[in-house]
């Protein structure tokens, strides 16, 4: 069961990496978070741990509903061009994504001896999600893609923590959620400012500071 959910998360990350439109990227992130929520919920039911239920609830409220809603509203308000500005086209991006997954698998088999299939898949998936998030941040021109890339990296870390060390201590988990929420809000405020000052949100055209 867990494996299917993890594959779901990974599949959504591929969707995010392929899509050309801002709203598509946001929905991709929404679904990625949804699968992460399912995973946490499944774990919560199997262990009966109250804290995990709270974490799952936070995932649902913050990452699946709150942040995507905020991002969609922002995209509409700043009337950003629907196009994400792909520096690397969809096909090549997908290929890179697959390659990054393969790299993560190699990394996993290098660092961990004594394979356990579920753990291996979880680790590989989380590492490749982190890397693909980074890929999104680098190879998309729009400021919004950078925010979502960052969030996707954060999701990857969450998956890694829950599969590797059985989740972080509760208080750490909560403060990371708080951090994510605040950072998205702040990044969003800066996107508004950039839009107002530069009349576009194309990060690749922000080149005042050099050397």
């Amino acid at each position: 069961m867990e494996i299917y959910i993890i594959f779901g998360i990974l599949a959504m990350t591929y969707v995010m990496i392929v899509t050309r439109r801002t709203l598509g990227l946001i929905s991709g992130f929404e679904l990625q978070s949804f699968f992460l929520f399912l995973l946490t919920l499944a774990e919560a039911f199997s262990t009966g741990n109250i804290e995990l239920f709270i974490v799952a609830g936070l995932l649902l409220i913050i990452k699946m509903i709150g942040i995507p809603y905020f991002l969609v509203r922002m995209t509409k308000e700043i009337k950003a061009n629907e196009n994400l500005g792909l520096i690397v086209n969809s096909q090549l991006s997908l290929l890179s994504g697959v390659f990054l997954t393969y790299l993560s698998w190699l990394f996993y088999s290098y660092i961990i001896q004594g394979h356990n299939l579920t753990e291996g898949i979880a680790l590989t998936a989380s590492l490749s999600i982190i890397l693909m998030g980074l890929f999104l941040m680098i190879f998309r021109m729009k400021a919004l893609a950078q925010i979502i890339g960052l969030l996707s990296m954060e999701n990857g870390i969450f998956l890694l923590a829950s599969s590797l060390s059985g989740g972080m201590p509760f208080i750490v988990e909560i403060s990371i959620f708080f951090d994510v929420l605040v950072s998205v809000m702040i990044l969003g405020m800066f996107v508004y400012r950039i839009n107002k000052l530069f009349t576009h949100v194309d990060v690749s055209r922000m080149t005042h500071l050099r050397g």
Binding site: L164, P169, I171, D179, G211
Partner: protein, 465 residues
């Protein structure tokens, strides 16, 4: 309430905090003292040393802010509300930096460092110009990505702990007590991530790209905090993990990585510093240089190297704050950042220029100022250890940076002032802040006061164990 009065109250609060921190530091003078509470807070001499450094710079910055912000409000039309927001953010920023140094849980340490980024981004983008918003965006994005790698490293550390011992914990004290039983391979990989992550925040090259932009675009008192202490909190995090790595793997791994990154930072700084035009960017590149020196000192290790590195952390914080304060006043008086257009400050701002001159000499490593002492200690440690190549390269880069510094800034100070410019009145509270810092620089250069010496010694003891 007027902006000046808010500033005065703020300075008073930070003065009281400084007194409190001096008291706290005085409790940690003997090696091996530690304090923990609720399984959440943990303080030892190392934390106390960083707390003291942060408190000193906070107070100086609060003192300098009084007139600086009030004048900005009068001249540039920053609204009263925006000035109030400045003080709110100032305090959030300083609080989050204190928080970094007192938590035991490494996950919380991560969260605290992330909060410092989020809060200070507003202070970088405070003027809301194209340049400052661009700098803030770059700062936010690069540091957030960097720090995600640090979180990854932190998780891998906790995994390295649970692999053989079955203990699930992110507490530094747990990791340190079990450091001998950590999975060595995992520790090696995890520390790379930590170094990339917190190294980004510390401004170690090649992850330094955001630093010159953010530090040059921020408001002057905040530039001082960013360069003076924020970078050091990231160094603090690296050192906390480094201690674990040292016990687990022996000193070489941590040492080699730190020396390597330190030298790369020095190299980057030396290659960019000559061609700078912006006075505050010049200072920012000098921060990269000094972070490099600190990293080399920590990497060389040994009692002398670590003592030198810690001393350098304090000295650089004090000196760089002085320089940023002066640069802020100079930039305001001339209305320009470009050094080629700023000439003859000695006539326009006599007191500030004198301080700037002393600061320049101190930062370039001239005796009898304090930075000479710490650089000398680190170099001696390197020579004693037989790391001649590292020492030689460090010396070469320091010479390049220093000569570029003197080349640029002496023209700024002694050149011909533009026609028709009249001397600017320098406010008393700003002068007081500068004087305070220059006194610290001079005292620390001649002789380190006894209590400070024992504090640094016992902090070095924490790193060495």
């Amino acid at each position: 309430m007027s902006i000046r009065n808010i500033g005065k109250i703020n300075a008073l609060v930070h003065f009281i905090l400084l007194a409190g921190c001096l008291f706290i530091a005085s409790r940690f003078l003997t090696p091996g003292t530690s304090f923990s509470a609720f399984n959440f807070f943990y303080l030892d001499s190392l934390s106390a040393f960083f707390i003291l450094t942060i408190a000193v710079i906070n107070f100086a910055s609060a003192l300098f802010s009084i007139e600086y912000i009030a004048r900005e409000a009068e001249k540039k039309g920053i609204s009263e509300r925006k000035a109030q927001i400045y003080y709110l953010l100032f305090n959030l920023f300083t609080t989050s930096m204190f928080f970094v140094t007192i938590v035991n849980n490494l996950g919380m340490l991560w969260a605290a460092i992330e909060i410092t980024t989020l809060v200070s981004a507003f202070l970088v983008g405070f003027y809301n110009t194209k340049r400052s918003v661009e700098a803030a965006w770059k700062y936010l994005i690069i540091c957030s990505v960097g720090i995600i790698f640090a979180l990854l490293g932190t998780i891998l550390f906790s995994y390295a702990l649970s692999m053989h011992t079955g203990i699930k914990s992110l507490n530094w004290t747990d990791l340190i007590s079990m450091a001998g039983r950590l999975d060595m391979n995992m520790v090696k990989i995890a520390f790379i991530f930590i170094l990339v992550g917190y190294g980004t925040k510390a401004g170690l090259a090649p992850m330094h790209n955001w630093l010159p932009d953010a530090h040059s675009q921020a408001i002057a008192p905040i530039s001082a905090l960013l360069s003076g202490v924020l970078l050091k909190t990231a160094i603090y995090a690296i050192v906390r993990f480094g201690i674990i790595v040292n016990i687990s793997l022996g000193g070489r791994y941590f040492g080699h990585l730190m020396v390597l990154l330190g030298l790369v930072s020095l190299l980057i700084s030396a290659s960019f510093v000559l061609t700078q035009k912006d006075i505050k960017r010049l200072l920012a590149y000098s921060s990269i240089e000094h972070i490099g020196i600190i990293a080399v000192g920590l990497g060389i290790g040994g009692p002398l190297g670590i003592f030198g590195a810690l001393l350098h952390i304090f000295n650089h914080a004090v000196t760089k704050s002085l320089m940023f304060f002066c640069a802020g006043d100079i930039v305001n008086a001339y209305g320009k950042h470009n050094m080629y257009a700023i000439r003859g400050t000695l006539k326009i701002l006599p007191f500030t220029s004198f301080m700037f001159l002393f600061g320049m000499l101190a930062l370039s490593g001239f005796p009898p100022f304090s930075i000479f002492m710490s650089e000398f200690l680190i170099l001696t440690a390197a020579f004693l250890k037989g790391s001649y190549i590292a020492a030689g390269m460090m010396l070469l880069f320091i010479v390049i940076v220093s000569s570029a510094f003197i080349f640029h800034l002496s023209k700024v100070i002694f050149g011909r002032a533009p026609e028709g410019m009249t001397p600017v009145k320098e406010p008393a509270s700003g002068k007081l802040a500068l004087a305070l810092l220059i006194i610290l620089i001079s005292i620390m250069g001649f002789a380190i006061p006894g209590p400070m010496n024992s504090l640094i010694l016992s902090a070095a003891e924490v790193i060495k164990r």
